[in-house]
Symmetry: C2
Subunit: 174 residues, 2 copies
């Protein structure tokens, strides 16, 4: 499917509500669960998404739109949430994500982007030239990937509890 600004935004504006519907009020045995050492819990993932709102998508789009000589993005800190979320409840994180996301989508709408802008390029620190269209598509896909991850992490807490059904639930092992 081609990236489409309106339908991409439709997903982006649903993500904070989706996380809240899935997780708000659940006991910590769900929200702090991981897939093992070095893997992330739903709580960690929420913090990671907040860091993306602050430092990744819109800041990188600004670099592309400025079209200055240096269009190289700052590297993204994939582990920022482990210090930035400290002392915050999951409810705090949802409020923060919702507010940042709303501001970022307002910024995006204000740009009134057309094809002339969507083909503009920036420079990714690892793999070089990327277009604004690819960046915005990645914002959407990144949301969905992490929603899938949260549900998977939670499902796998019952890998043993479901007994022989494990053979029928692909989420457990793939």
């Amino acid at each position: 499917m081609e990236f489409d600004l309106a339908s991409g935004i439709a997903v982006l504006e649903r993500t904070p509500r989706t996380l809240r519907a899935m997780l708000a009020g659940l006991p910590p045995e769900w929200t702090d669960a991981t897939e093992g050492p070095g893997t992330w819990s739903p709580y960690d993932i929420a913090g990671h998404m907040i860091h993306g709102e602050r430092t990744d998508w819109i800041p990188r789009a600004r670099i592309i739109l400025a079209q200055s000589a240096d269009r190289r993005f700052a590297p993204y800190d994939r582990l920022a949430q482990f210090h930035e979320s400290q002392g915050k409840s999951l409810a705090d994180l949802f409020d923060e994500l919702e507010s940042l996301r709303a501001d970022n989508l307002a910024t995006l709408a204000g740009w009134r982007l057309g094809d002339d802008q969507l083909v503009m390029e920036g420079e990714h620190p690892a793999f070089g030239p990327v277009t604004l269209r690819q960046l915005l598509a990645c914002w959407v896909a990144h949301d969905l990937g992490h929603v899938a991850q949260i549900a998977r992490v939670m499902a796998r807490q019952y890998r043993e509890a479901i007994g022989p059904w494990r053979a029928y639930l692909p989420v457990m092992d793939r």
Copy 2:
């Protein structure tokens, strides 16, 4: 993690709202999207979950609790949604799932299950004896597996659109 009735129910009661938050009002390019021939769209998955509410979890729990001589479950029709959802909008499916789920959780609560019941067994048509505890854990894990699937199916629509970021988003290929 061991299955716990209260924390399992906490997930089950959130699923209809989660699906609504993710999908209600999205254009059909998202809700009818699949991963290719023979795979399911978010719309198909909602219908599949409804069929489970009607024929799988609570009906099978009833068979176990009755402890009659024949405790064999009826096989589950994994493709029922392809005729049962016909003519229904996604909004209809959400209403139906929400209502069935609420009724089923009320039934479950009414049983006031304790360990004496949770160890009772039924007979799965494919793999033999299973406990009520395993069945209920599977209900929860099945929900979460399909939430993960919906998000994955949607994410993969942008597999090409994200360009080189594909290498960084495990949801695209694993």
